[in-house]
């Protein structure tokens, strides 16, 4: 066990630590899932980032400021502008300058976007099942817990700490 990535990458024997092996496994698994999900979304004319913006807006149930969306996307701020530009161009969101605070731009889903999301829901859920459904509930829960543990970096002295 724990040697498959070595074969896949043709890099037999150059893992210098268990930590590094775990990290590379994580990246590779994440990539594989991203690719599959991205392909499905492309069939609906969306990129993953665009879908995530729409999903966040639907979850919120109301228009959100651009930076609020950005903060939930784990992305850097400037990227949100172009993302919303493209969604707006495709008729999936509308921008509205706030009245109370004119610096703020509220972003709202269009009806078209809601319909699109509804069409995606089932196939996406099915895909999630296809991709990880071969794992038992116990394995999935264990994986989730280990990933949460992995993200808990104890006191990050270098650079700024997490929020």
């Amino acid at each position: 066990m724990a040697g498959k990535l070595r074969a896949e990458l043709k890099k037999r024997g150059d893992f210098e630590s268990l930590e590094q092996e775990a990290t590379l496994n994580l990246w590779r698994t994440s990539d594989q899932l991203s690719n599959r999900v991205g392909r499905l979304l492309r069939d609906f004319g969306l990129t993953s980032s665009q879908y995530n913006v729409l999903r966040i807006l639907r979850g919120a149930g109301e228009p959100l400021p651009s930076l609020e969306i950005a903060s939930r996307l784990i992305q850097v701020v400037p990227a949100i502008t172009g993302l919303i530009d493209r969604l707006e161009r495709n008729g999936l969101v509308v921008r509205q300058r706030s009245e109370e605070d004119r610096r703020v731009v509220h972003v709202e889903l269009t009806r078209q976007a809601r319909h699109l999301l509804e069409r995606i829901d089932h196939p996406l859920q099915q895909l999630h099942h296809e991709l990880l459904g071969h794992m038992s509930r116990r394995e999935l829960k264990s994986l989730i817990e280990l990933l949460e543990t992995a993200r808990e970096i104890p006191d990050t002295k270098t650079k700024k700490s997490q929020s």
Copy 2:
């Protein structure tokens, strides 16, 4: 347990399945690690992709054809051209048209690149330890195994029924 991501994403309650929760956890963890490693590499003037090309070349111990590098990067073919362009511009690799097969372009590390890689080795290993060192060996091995299991999608050609 298994509810932290909900809080982090402010999306409480909209996981529709364990599979989806695992996938989102995976992405978030992968992103966090990428960010930290990317920041370290940036201090050495490299992006993650560039570093990976150099690491692959060092591991191979000899010049490699462009597409051979691309295949080990899990990337799509066209991206490799620009990547190598930039590495060449920065004096880290050299391109050489093959004699036996003139379609092939061999890419070779420069001495400068070897020195750079040596300077990165220790800090990077240290960072890997900082990022996941709080997990026990048992947890790390378990995580690695679960990730390998996750990647084993049973029969994946087009969209088959399911597992």
